[in-house]
């Protein structure tokens, strides 16, 4: 079985995250770019299946040159090979472009199953797996807290806003996992050494036979028109409880008409 895992490099939530005020694009030059935690978990799901069955695991990302670091990390964790879609024409790509390019790269590699995170910590859109599935005309089984992969079928438990569903689909299919799925393994020292010798292919848009003007010319696109930074919050009243703080809180709430 051939499993493609979609991974993403994101700005560290713990660091400063910023948008370019002129273009509204994410400032990816910020120093703290890391692999998204949910990408690590997606890869873990694939690697567990590889441990059991010897499945082939390919990691795929679309991003600037620096994203290769995230792919090397995935190779060190145990992925067999990596594919990096890298093209200056993709700077500022919205979900419409991104899903289309990822689908083309997945088709280029060939697949039985695609695994992704349910949503990234930067964009938080949560739409890419379903959009890629539509491009590939395959089912999507998304937001899974548990995944069970068999020879030609995948099933799992899906968390939604209204409850839990158990879902199943024949392969090929696209799966996305939530942070409820197991913690990812750490790359071993041996893994780090091996990673250097594993294949990491870089694909441009022309390698995928995509010309942005003709391929995306007739589809709608969302573009950012204005970006405003909200003023930072400042601390207000802070008291140390000396026996009456509970009543003071109730008075504060009453004064604010919250009661």
């Amino acid at each position: 079985m051939k499993i493609i895992v979609l991974v993403k490099q994101v700005p560290d939530t713990w660091g400063e995250r910023s948008l370019d005020s002129a273009t509204g694009a994410l400032d990816r030059s910020a120093p703290d770019n890391i692999i998204d935690e949910i990408s690590d978990r997606s890869l873990e799901v694939a690697l567990r299946h590889k441990d059991e069955t010897g499945a082939e695991v390919i990691v795929l990302t679309m991003g600037p040159a620096s994203a290769a670091v995230a792919l090397r990390h995935c190779l060190a964790m145990g992925a067999d090979s990596a594919v990096h879609v890298l093209d200056d024409a993709l700077a500022g790509a919205d979900v419409t472009w991104t899903s289309s390019v990822l689908a083309a790269a997945i088709t280029h590699e060939g697949f039985d199953m695609v695994i992704a995170g349910n949503e990234s910590t930067d964009g938080r859109g949560g739409v890419i797996p379903a959009m890629v599935a539509e491009h590939l005309s395959v089912p999507h089984l998304t937001s899974l807290s548990e995944v069970h992969i068999a020879v030609d079928v995948v099933n799992g438990s899906r968390e939604t806003d209204y409850g839990t569903l158990t879902v199943t689909a024949r392969l090929p299919a696209i799966v996305s996992v939530t942070e409820q799925s197991p913690d990812a393994r750490f790359p071993s020292f041996k893994g780090l050494l091996k990673a250097k010798k594993k294949p990491l292919a870089t694909l441009s848009l022309s390698d995928l036979s995509i010309n942005p003007e003709t391929s995306f010319g007739s589809t709608g696109r969302s573009t950012i028109t204005t970006v405003t930074r909200r003023p930072a919050r400042t601390a207000g009243i802070k008291i140390v409880d000396s026996g009456n703080a509970g009543v003071e809180l109730a008075e504060f709430l009453a004064a604010g008409r919250f009661v």
């Binding site: 939530t13 995250r17 948008l19 919205d94 979900v95 419409t96 899903s99 349910n118 910590t121 938080r124 859109g125 949560g126 739409v127 890419i128 379903a130 959009m131 539509e134 395959v138 089912p139 999507h140 089984l141 998304t142 937001s143 807290s145 099933n155 899906r158 806003d161 209204y162 409850g163 569903l165 158990t166 879902v167 689909a169 299919a173 007739s218 589809t219 709608g220 696109r221 969302s222 573009t223 950012i224 028109t225 204005t226 970006v227 909200r230 919050r233 207000g236 802070k238 008291i239 409880d241 703080a245 509970g246 009543v247 809180l249 109730a250 504060f252 009453a254 604010g256 919250f258 009661v259």
Partner: protein, 324 residues
Amino acid sequence: MSTALTLIEVSPSGEIRGSAKMLLAAATRLGTPVAVLSTTPGDHSEHVKQLGDLGAHHVFIAESTQTDSLLATPAVESLAAAFSHFETSAAVLVTNSVEGREIAGRLAVRIGGGLTIDAIDITLVNDRVVARNSVFGGAFDVESSIHGGPAVITLRQGSIDEEVTAHTPDLITITLSLTSVAAATITSRTEAPTDSGRPDLRGAATVVSGGRGVGSKEDFLLVEQLADALGAAVGASRAAVDAGYITHSLQVGQTGTIVSPQLYIALGISGAIQHLAGMQTAKVIVAVNKDPDAPIFDFTDFGIVGDIFTVIPQTIEALHRFRH
């Protein structure tokens, strides 16, 4: 005038979900509002009347016996059918839920539309749909417009609340064929319990959340008691969810629900940046924490350094006194 389509959510027991009001009010701003209902065959006259009361000019019902057993795709097919029926649709509006945004994503690919996710406001400017988003946990406000194709937009629940005029809607009913679609099959369904009587976390005016400092599943009752005293929704930090105090669906933060209430009360929550990203746009923030150096105190309008198990029972008692 062009039409604006809305995807009406229906619960497994057949009730129209609360999001319909917001979607139809938003659609009214953009064009002639159309309610699209993806459902199993049956008598839908009560739904049609309800949707008319919420402002729908047209109700488009797409029926299939498989609607409840396939994941997301029946709704995609229903919207696509409505989109080709109403040739002039400028926008399609869907609730920003796990399922809603996937439906919107697949539909955008299908109809060549541009997609905006989790909008908190929409307007029509020079015939173009402009959406407003709050990103990075509310640190930035972003406005975007969709051009070159129809606009598919998911709207954050509770973001638009306005009254629109009731109508007696036209009804169109079609039968969907779902035999050859690529879709996952739903084998069982457990509806999350909604009998707590508390408001939904999304869209609640007041939220009371507990963190690791609450200490145990049993003691989380204290958080619920304060919530009930204030008519508030209950939330939790990821630490509390990971520790098993409370269900994942109530997690507030970067990877949980993002809330923007009038009042947010954090109990035993230190204020990790992932949590702040989910609540820092709240109008008023209150925190109680034993640790005077907890980062959350940098964001609070009213902070108490103290033990939640002595402070909060006192607050609940005082709140009851104020009422009587």
